[in-house]
């Protein structure tokens, strides 16, 4: 009964993976597939000594750390908020699913419009509030553009943490908190000594999952900035896309793909380890 699924996985997933690794050892150009020569590790050497690669690497790390951190903090506090007993709770629990449901591409065009330098609503709002005197070109400078893309990403993805952590919070018995309150523990004290330790398994697993997702980021970069300005938002995925399909260097693109895959596999390894260590039941 497991054979059909295994065969399909071998065909659709493992064959392409092997194919990528093989291509990475060749000098291959798109549209000239017959001219490919074996070049050994030279694609890898070229990439690892290329400044553009290391710049993309650093930008990806920055994007991943900052966006996942912000998403986690917002997600944690909104989860705690939604675990309180007040009337807006049901409404908000439904609301947090909305940004999550918006397709990533649509989220990208939406925020590109909000950040527009001529007619964007962010400029309009800040101007009317008197916080800026001239419209700002939010996506015009490399570092600022990167941070604006992070804002767009956080707005869509922080609710993943809200939903997952809320699910975990609901399994914590109420009397744990009552006991802590009797002992005179304040909000922060309860957060660090009761909530966070008990949420540990859910936190570890959701952090690793989101980290691997953020590391792979492509769609929102392609839509909002195309890696620009001045390569300021060129993350690794976009660099692979550019190398393979714009510069049409398949061999180099494949070598890059393999490097990224290895990094993700390391993250997956951490994930599997944490699943085992936290003894999380794979349970729905």
């Amino acid at each position: 009964m497991i054979i059909p699924a295994t065969v399909v996985l071998l065909l659709t997933l493992f064959y392409p993976i092997v194919n990528t690794i093989i291509i990475s050892f060749f000098d291959k150009k798109l549209f000239y597939p017959s001219f490919s020569t074996f070049v050994g590790l030279s694609n890898y050497k070229e990439i690892l000594s290329n400044e553009e690669f290391w710049s993309a690497f650093k930008i990806t790390i920055y994007f991943t750390i900052v966006s996942v951190f912000l998403e986690f903090v917002i997600g944690l506090f909104t989860a705690i908020l939604l675990n309180q007993n007040f009337k807006l709770r049901g409404f908000l629990r439904t609301l947090v699913i909305l940004p999550w449901a918006i397709p990533t591409v649509v989220n990208g065009v939406l925020w590109q419009w909000i950040f527009d330098s001529n007619y964007g609503s962010l400029n309009g709002l800040l101007y009317q509030l008197g916080l800026i005197h001239n419209y700002v070109n939010w996506l015009g400078k490399p570092f600022m553009a990167l941070n604006m893309v992070i804002i767009a990403d956080v707005w869509k993805n922080c609710w993943f943490f809200t939903i997952v952590l809320l699910g975990a919070l609901q399994t914590i018995p109420k009397n744990y908190y009552d006991a802590a309150k009797v002992d005179g523990a304040g909000f922060w004290n309860r957060l660090f000594n009761v909530t966070l330790p008990l949420l540990r398994p859910a936190i570890v697993v959701s952090l690793v999952l989101r980290t691997s997702e953020a590391f792979k980021v492509f769609d929102i970069i392609y839509i909002m900035t195309k890696g620009g300005p001045a390569n300021g938002t060129q993350v690794l995925s976009y660099y692979v896309y550019h190398t393979s399909f714009e510069a049409m260097q398949l061999g180099k693109g494949a070598a890059l793909s393999t490097i990224i895959a290895i990094i993700i596999l390391l993250i997956a390894l951490v994930y599997i380890k944490s699943l085992m260590r936290e003894e999380v039941e794979i349970n729905a």
């Binding site: 009964m1 699924a5 909104t78 007040f86 807006l88 940004p99 859910a202």
Partner: protein, 283 residues
């Protein structure tokens, strides 16, 4: 007094969260129904004075936008729907028996198999897209639904097996054993006993794989090049690549592309939440 303060604090925080979520969505909606003059005004019109359905009409009946000929939006919706439905069906048919066997028999290789599945689920699409492009070209299915169905299965299937396995684990083995004693084989006990009980898992897999296909962009961008197979995400992205950007039309298109997943998310909330928390919350 203290309690009242807390309640007020909760309401303020709740309202802030609601505003944070709703503002961009509201702006997408307002932009989609604003006439061009109002859209391009400084400062922006937060409430359009002359709302219009012009952009939606253009999407449905075609015509020319500021950025030239409008792509056939209906065809893109059809492409996305068909690709998502067929991929979902294939993944369900394959993952249900696979998940079942993993949860019941196969104990020796189970852990290795599951680790491979989890890794496959996290594998970056960008690392495969080049290879997929070459394979799909060689199979002569580039720019067709089948190209997308082929590649989408590669990331939907591992996810589906993982969730189905989790659901079958929650069904007590004793039920199977009772069926075995009554003389039923593995297929019969699977069909009569376990499958009906795993229905919630079935729904979760169906919903998630549909949503993941609907959302997919990278493969569709590379593997399709005209309206024969272009999906909704590619068409929405193309409003941005021309010289003049027609944001009103873009927001209308974005809104239409968002309606199916949003409706699914709202109506089937229960499954979404259980799908998201799989593997993250202790059972």
């Amino acid at each position: 007094m203290h309690k009242r303060k807390k309640i007020i604090g909760l309401y303020i925080a709740g309202i802030l969260v609601a505003i944070f979520i709703l503002m961009p969505i509201y702006w997408m909606f307002v932009s989609s129904i604003s006439p061009k003059i109002e859209l391009l005004s400084k400062p922006p019109h937060w409430f359009p004075k002359n709302p219009t359905l012009q952009n939606f009409k253009k999407l449905i009946w075609g015509g020319t936008g500021t950025s030239g000929e409008i792509p056939d939006f209906k065809r893109a919706l059809l492409n996305s729907t068909i690709v998502a439905l067929i991929t979902t069906t294939i993944s369900l048919l394959l993952s249900i028996p696979a998940g079942y066997v993993l949860s019941r028999k196969f104990q020796k290789f189970k852990q290795i198999y599951l680790n491979i599945i989890v890794t496959a689920r996290m594998f970056p699409e960008i690392a495969l897209v080049l290879s997929m492009y070459l394979i799909v070209s060689r199979l002569k299915i580039i720019n067709t639904w089948w190209a997308l169905i082929f590649v989408y299965t590669s990331f939907i299937l591992p996810y589906s097996i993982w969730i189905m396995y989790g659901y079958f684990l929650t069904i007590p083995k004793e039920l199977d054993e009772a069926a075995y004693i009554d003389g039923a084989g593995i297929w019969k006990s699977f069909l009569k006993v376990d499958l009906p009980l795993a229905l919630p898992g079935f729904s979760t897999v169906a919903i998630f794989s549909f949503l993941m296909c609907w959302d997919e962009f990278l493969y569709a961008l590379i593997l399709t090049f005209n309206m024969k197979a272009k999906t909704i995400t590619v068409v929405v992205s193309e409003f941005t690549t021309r010289h003049m950007i027609d944001y009103g039309l873009m927001m209308a298109g974005g809104l239409v592309a968002t309606i199916p997943p949003m409706l699914i998310a709202l109506l089937l909330q229960k499954y979404i939440i259980s799908g998201l928390t799989v593997g993250a919350v202790k059972g």
